[in-house]
């Protein structure tokens, strides 16, 4: 089943001649992703890892891209996203960190009007082992299986995915929602997809302090999800008022504490791991 993207999805990279764009377009190709083109204004005619480069998204629409990875500096992200949406691309993933959240809000609501998915900003993307990877997750940690993972963090996700793989299980879909206060996709979007996906039997939710999306996810799981769900929440030790690396990871006016999120999951019948490494055995 298609979860946003599948093995037939054609992908472009906006900002493909940048450091990240170059490196990760190559890694995506190695994973098996159909990276068909990239953009970098003024650099048409070049190629990166054998991928043709164009000035504008409108110049490469004959390649019929389904998804874009945006890796441009924060001031240019909104324009790049609008360019992709205007061209009719239905999956927009933003890798860039430090995008002003007012920009993200506008991109998100415009994407919705166009019936497009927004993933990110400031997340590692989506990986479907054996099918497709869009983003920056390390290629080597995955194995095809039936566990789906939705997470607000990057490296912590790799740690957990790696542990699942080493334990002999595997993953159906791994989605990094990103560490910003305004994410494009959120936990409920991911849970809806995982719940409907027949290849997914078990679900891992990796949350962190800040906001109340984990609490809402717990409520959604209680009402709708009959698959096994295990959660982890990062930031139990975080003091209020301090941003723990991610713009969204902050306890404000008592909202967004780890305790509240853990309690919400436990009340929804979701077991919460004390350590990331405990997740594989809790899935068994």
């Amino acid at each position: 089943m298609k979860v946003i993207v599948d093995e037939n999805s054609k992908v472009i990279v906006q900002g493909i001649t940048g450091h990240q764009g170059m490196f990760h377009s190559g890694e995506m190709l190695k994973f098996g992703t159909k990276v068909v083109g990239g953009t970098s204004p003024g650099k048409s005619g070049q190629n990166v890892n054998g991928i043709p480069v164009f000035d504008n998204v409108s110049d490469l629409m004959h390649l019929n891209p389904d998804a874009t990875m945006i890796s441009v500096a924060p001031p240019f992200v909104k324009d790049a996203a609008y360019e992709a949406l205007d061209a009719g691309i239905k999956v927009v993933y933003i890798l860039t960190e430090h995008v002003p959240f007012h920009d993200t809000m506008e991109i998100l609501y415009n994407a919705r009007r166009k019936g497009a998915w927004l993933l990110g900003p400031n997340g590692p993307g989506i990986t479907r082992p054996g099918k497709v990877k869009i983003g920056i997750m390390p290629n080597t940690i995955f194995k095809k299986g039936d566990v789906a993972v939705a997470s607000r963090s990057g490296t912590l996700t790799y740690e957990i995915v790696n542990a699942i793989t080493l334990d002999g299980m595997g993953e159906s879909t791994v989605i990094g929602l990103g560490g910003d206060p305004v994410p494009g996709m959120d936990f409920i979007d991911a849970l809806e997809l995982f719940n409907a996906d027949e290849d997914t039997k078990k679900i891992v939710v990796v949350g962190e302090i800040g906001g109340s999306n984990e609490e809402r996810a717990a409520e959604y799981i209680r009402k709708n999800v009959r698959k096994k769900v295990v959660a982890y929440i990062a930031g139990r030790s975080a003091p209020p008022g301090k941003r723990m690396g991610h713009a969204g990871a902050i306890i404000e006016r008592g909202v967004g504490t780890a305790e509240s999120k853990i309690k919400a999951f436990e009340e929804a019948g979701v077991r919460v791991a004390e350590y990331p490494i405990d997740i594989p055995k809790m899935l068994e």
């Binding site: 506008e106 390390p138 963090s153 990057g154 560490g179 305004v182 994410p183 991610h246 350590y275």
Partner: protein, 368 residues
């Protein structure tokens, strides 16, 4: 980034949101001659200034001068006062609450208001609070103001004034990339006019590149946090003894959590980020060492940041700074074997799993 009250009020004035007449002083010589009763307000980024003696009233030149002398350089809840806002005293009849903030759940701006102002909005009963999400593409429109003034049971006079303030407040929220723009209290003055008696404006730090008028130095950060920020690190000082270097915000948080669950106390949060360079690692050690931890834990899951790069950085830092502290390293992921080999040649044993590393560093911290 939090703005001071006077900065917020300057913005309000620019957008024609009514504020009391006033001026800012940073030395007693800047105080103008007394004409009418004033309030002298310490400019510190913390709530509860009034209760902590940070706000004084003056009804003649002498008390004004004394108030200024007393407050400048004093401490309000631990923060040193270097600026005062001297404002005309209001004839307060009623106090209301008004703000626009990001509703993270709906991912939209949200207007919040209450007839119960002058207190923390968290302490106001839910039934007395008006909340309305605003579609960011549509923006503020007058129907929202009509809904609000009806909820507040305002008469025509007050309703008209509030509906003039609301679109301007929304403009401030948008124009300055605000996380929060708050007027608490919004005062009904003796002359029947609504006036913003206080301001709280928080600007999204990620948007500061397009708000050059504000200094990038967040006054709420420690000097070491500012240094780290200028070098591009996510760094937070904490109160414990275990220095921490990890990669990724989530993994770094998970590392701190694991330390705490083992009764270890982290000295800091430091996320190396996803850059693959030994210099980044060396500089990270410089920052952590300046925080003077008792022991240091490095926890890396290699991806974009490769384990051998980190290992080389650790060896270089050890030589460069002559690190005396016990060092516990965990390397896993991309190029972990190579990384472990580099460390081994330099007499450092690296764990491959996080938990044994955490247990080890906690035992060093307790036993040293």
């Amino acid at each position: 980034m939090n703005l001071y009250e006077y900065q917020g009020k300057e913005i309000f004035r620019k957008f024609q949101i009514p504020v009391p007449d006033g001026y800012v002083v940073s030395s007693p010589s800047e105080v103008k001659s007394y004409t009418s009763p004033v309030v002298v307000k310490s400019q510190v980024l913390i709530g509860g200034r009034g209760k902590s003696g940070g706000i004084k009233f003056a009804k003649d030149q002498a008390t004004l001068g004394n108030a200024v002398k007393e407050l400048l350089g004093s401490k309000v809840r631990g923060l040193t006062v270097s600026k005062l806002l001297i404002e005309q005293m209001l004839d307060i009849r009623k106090e209301f609450y008004l703000s626009i903030t990001l509703n993270r759940t709906e991912r939209k701006p949200m207007l919040i208001a209450s007839v119960a102002g002058g207190v923390e909005i968290e302490s106001v009963p839910e039934t007395e609070i008006f909340r309305k999400s605003i579609d960011p593409i549509v923006g503020y429109s007058d129907f929202i103001g009509r809904q609000l003034t009806k909820f507040m049971k305002f008469d025509a006079q007050l309703a008209k004034q509030l509906r003039a303030i609301l679109p301007k407040l929304y403009q401030v929220f948008e124009k300055y990339d605000c996380e929060l723009v708050e007027i608490n209290p919004l005062v009904l003055n003796g002359d029947g006019k609504l006036i913003a008696a206080d301001s709280k404006v928080i600007i999204d730090s990620d948007s500061l590149y397009r708000h050059q008028e504000f200094p990038k130095e967040d006054p709420e950060r420690t000097p070491l946090e500012l240094e780290a920020q200028s070098k591009g690190y996510s760094f937070v000082e904490l109160e414990g003894v275990i220095g921490v270097i990890a990669n990724g915000a989530g993994l770094t948080m998970a590392t701190l959590d694991a330390l705490l669950l083992h009764k270890g106390k982290p000295r800091n949060f430091l996320d190396l980020g996803g850059t693959d360079s030994t210099d980044i690692v060396v500089e990270a050690f410089d920052l952590v060492l300046k925080a003077n931890p008792k022991v240091i834990l490095v926890n890396i899951f290699g991806g974009v940041t490769k384990c051998d790069t980190v290992a080389a950085g650790i060896v270089e830092a050890k030589k460069k700074y002559g690190i005396k502290q016990q060092l516990v390293v965990r390397l896993s992921g991309v190029r972990e074997t190579e990384g472990r080999e580099i460390l081994k040649q330099n007499g450092i044993v690296a764990f491959s799993e996080m938990m044994p590393a955490v247990e080890k560093v906690v035992s060093f911290a307790g036993g040293a």
